[in-house]
Structure formats: C-alpha cells, structure tokens
Subunit: 313 residues, 2 copies
C-alpha cells in the first residue's frame, strides 16, 4: 500500500503521519520540537520514528516525504531563518531527510501546505484556482492558479497577511503599519475588541471578562451580543476589502477559510462575503465562494504536508 | 519558414502581423475596426488580408493565430461584452477564425497579450514570475506565475487597475471609488494635476496650458518643474503602494511597465520603486526590479498576440 509521510514542524511540537492517497491517516506520532535545539537532532528523531513504523508495517510502501515548517522554502528544500524555531540561518531540511531516506522530499511553509491539503483532500478538490486564508494567531495564505501553488520567484509568495489595508493603521509585528493580519486574525479581533470596548456605551458580556480571546468574542456573538457582532463586522470589513482586491488579481473560484477564526463559521463568512461583494469589481460579483476548510483540523497540518507528495505523483 | 499571425483588435483599428519565432515582423497590415459593426465581417476582412499574404509568400508556414482584443476570454476563445467595440454579447472569435483557417487560434485581452509578448520577446524573457502593468488611458495588468499567465477560474484575472487603493477615493468608471487606475494612468495623472493646480501657490509651466495631458506633465517634470515632479511623486506613491501589496501576493522577479506613462522612464520608475520599497514587507525588499518594456511599442500589440502562439509551441 502506497503511503506518503507528512511532517508538521511547529514551534512546540513536531507531528508526523503516514497518509494514504485518499487522505486517511494510517499512523501518526509526535514529539516536542523544543527537545531538539539542532535540526539534525530533530531529523534523526523523526527518521527513527518513521523507520520504526516501516519496520513493523511491512505492507506500507513509502513514496515520499512532505514537510510543512515555518519559513519552509519549496524551491530549496530549506527552512530559512524560522522565527519560531531555535534553528539558526538556513537549514537544508530536504537534504537532512534524504540522508535517511532515498526518496523525494518536499518542504514548504504551513499555509502553502494547507492550500495543497485543501486541494488534495478538502474543500478545494478539483479546483485549479483558489486561495486559502488561515486565520490563526496571524493570517497566512496560499494561492493556487492553473492548478499550481504560486511560490513566486523566491518561494515567498502568498503573504496576504502582510498586505497593507490601512495606511498608518495598526502596528504590525513586521515593523510596518496597517497589515491585514493586525485586523483579521485571532489576535487582530482581540485588538478590535479592546478598541470597541474603549468607546462602547452599551452593555456587553465582554465587559465582564478579565482577558478576552477570539473564542470569547465568537461565543458572545453567537448569543447575539451586539458589541461582539460589531467586532465581527469590523473584522469582516477589513478581510472582505482585502479579498475583493485579491480577487481582482487572481480571480479564484473560491476562498477557503481555515483555522481559529474560521471556527466561528457564518459569523465570519457571512459579513466577509457581504463586504467582499460590496468592494468588488462588477465582473467578479456573485462568482466567488467563501468556503470553510473541510480538512479535519486535528490532522490538517500532516495532511497538508503529505499532500505535497501526492500532488506530485 | 514558420510564422505566427498576431492580431490586435482595437476600438479604432485592427492590426495584423506575421511574426517569426524571434519576434521579427515579416509583414503587417491594418484596417479600421469601425468599418465592421459585425464581428463576422471583421473576421472576413482579416482572413482575406492574411490569406493574400500567404498566397504571395509561399515560403511562410502559418502555425497559428493569436488575438488580443478587449475582454478577450482565453478559455472560451471569445470576446465578451467588449466596451469599446460595437459587437454585442459574446462573440465566438476563435470559432469565426477557425472557419477560415484550420489552425490553433488563441484569444486573450490586451494586457495579457502584452505580458506574454514581454515574456517571449521583451524584458521578461526567461522569467517565470513577473507582472506587466500597462499605464495607458486606464491601468491594465497581466500576471505570470510558474511560467504561466494567471487567468483565474473565469479568465478575468489581472485587474490590478481595479484594486481599491483609497477607500472612498476618486470616482472610477467602474462605478466604485478609489481604484488604482484613477490615480496611476494617463488620465489619473491628469486628475492629480488638476487637484494639485487647485491648491498650488508657486509658479508652474502647467498653469499656462489650456488642456493638460500626461505628456505635458512629463515634459514639465523633465525640465524640473516642481509641481510636475510633485504630481509624479503622488502618482508613484499610489502605484508603489499597490505594487508592494501585489508583491506580497505573487512575489514576482520583476514588474514591467508599459504604455504612455512608462515613456516618462525614470520619472515614474524611480519614485515608484522608492514607495514600493517603503511599503513592502522586509523579506521582499530590494529583490523586485521595476523594468520598462523592451518590446517595440509600435508593434507591441501584434507581437503580444503572436506570442500567444509561440508560447504554446
């Protein structure tokens, strides 16, 4: 039975899984990324765990390894100056894995892996032109056109989160101001909550909380809390505006939302769609779907990484 | 000798040319588009002129026909509701030409043809990831990623001119406000001139003119006219801002400028580059070139259209 291994290297944990052609998880495992300050050591650990599975399950025929990692570079098979890992400089991850396995190895970043996962196993199956927007702590994105991921000339394409939607807007971690992810992300919506709370004169359940999370805001909005709904509306306006501009460039069939904020479902989808249509050029109106990811979130990262392999076969 | 025919159908004139694999114009001709209120009649005329060349120059082996036309749809080989042509509805242009020639026929819009022309014969040769921005009456664009034009799911991708760069900004012909082309185009820069003239207290040669054109502004700027330079700076700020956001999405190796405003050369390139770098995410800084088109402008439209054919061979 042919299988691909998908590996997700996160700041805290590394997860690996054997994935078949249909996206079923055959076997998976995990270990702390932080146990391995050096990349070589992490690769040795992952390779040992993968090899052990192969020894026990001799019916598995491994055809390749896909890796999703922060700042993963598809062209070079490297991880470059990853902000959330202790590794320094440019790490030749593909090469390190190929020292253990005489197989094709692909590396890319998390959002790109998610896009390919969605195309292979999720909401974007059969689509040649779409984009995924991951609404987590930050905002990641992966663009697919003509059935291929847009990597750009340097493999760094797809930074929708760092397009500026408001000149001199909110300070962003990247050093600039007004980036989309300072508004449309789990942290962005919390910033909006603070802003709105500062001037709100009505009564809201959010006023009772010591700490506000995006989940709190979603729960309040689901119960009809006016302020929470306003916060979602504001977030959706920024996201919808940005998506309308993005559609004018790549004219996708669909935009797939993934991650934390996407869990709020229609609370984010409906107003985002409303604003996107409002800001959109007429020739694109009522043509672009906003979908929720349909890859099971618990395994999305390893499915996306494994999809890198299945996409190439 | 293998040749491709490139046809440019403009609102006023239709131009055709026989183009070899190196982009040399072997023979060309033109006739008024406006003589042919119906598409069938225009196609008959073009086909007759092309056939005549083939009869006289028997060494020419025609391998295909490429057509650039307003609202040309690459996927369907059609021209759809073209605003500048008298044709109504959806015209099956590819089919009409194939009734005369048993050959591959491709149709696309002007900006996409220009992008392929630049890739095949001009400043973007050898590039897999770039975009062209045509700064004419409006602002057109064509995006190339992974060596392929981004058409999007409906062939309407590449409308950078209709991305909104200023919420509630200038009224655009598309019915919305603040589109990039209301600032960065031959008409946009004239609008900026009027705005600046309204409040300028200094002395400028532009104050002496009855009618202001983008050419006047460029001439004044070249002579060091302070107001004209300010007008270019403002235009470049809007364009540079938009390009910085665009780079974050597609990470091109270069941005090729083409058309009227591009003739002002460094007057537009230098400040646009300056603002693009200023608004750009750090990982993209100092990596993206802004180039001027190197396809001879007189023949650019037919070269771009013919490049559609050569690109496929």
């Amino acid at each position: 039975m042919k299988v691909a291994v998908g590996i997700d290297i996160g700041g805290t944990n590394t997860v690996w899984g054997f994935i078949d052609a249909d996206g079923a998880v055959i076997e998976k495992g995990t270990f702390p990324t932080t146990d391995h300050p050096k990349a070589e050591s992490l690769v040795n650990e992952a390779a040992a765990q993968i090899s052990q599975v192969l020894q026990h399950r001799t019916q598995l025929e491994l055809i390749g390894i896909g890796i999703g990692a922060p700042n993963g570079n598809f062209f070079n098979g490297t991880v470059e100056f990853a902000p959330n890992l202790s590794w320094e400089g440019i790490v030749p991850l593909k090469e390190l894995f190929q020292a253990h396995f005489d197989l094709p190895v692909w590396v890319t970043n998390d959002a790109n892996a998610a896009a390919i996962g969605e195309m292979q196993f999720g909401a974007a199956q059969g689509m040649n032109d779409f984009l995924i927007v991951t609404l987590g702590t930050g905002l990641g994105s992966g663009f697919v056109a003509n059935g291929e991921l847009i990597y750009g000339h340097d493999a760094f394409a797809g930074e929708l989160g760092h397009t500026i939607v408001e000149l001199d807007g909110r300070q962003c971690g990247c050093g600039r101001k007004g980036c989309l992810e300072t508004y449309a992300s789990a942290t962005g919506i919390v910033r909006t909550a603070h802003l709105k709370l500062a001037s709100y004169e009505g009564s809201s359940s959010l006023q009772q909380l010591d700490t506000i999370t995006s989940k709190n805001i979603a729960e309040a909005a689901k119960k009809g809390d006016t302020l929470a709904l306003e916060i979602f509306d504001y977030t959706a306006q920024k996201l919808g505006f940005s998506l309308a501009n993005t559609v004018a460039i790549s004219s996708p069939k669909a935009i797939v939302l993934f991650g934390g904020l996407a869990h709020s479902g229609d609370l984010i989808v409906q107003p985002t769609k409303h604003y996107m249509e409002q800001y959109m050029l007429n020739i694109f109106q009522n043509k672009v779907e906003i979908l929720l990811s349909s890859v099971p979130e618990a395994d999305a990262a390893i499915l996306g990484a494994a999809a890198l392999v299945w996409k190439q076969t």
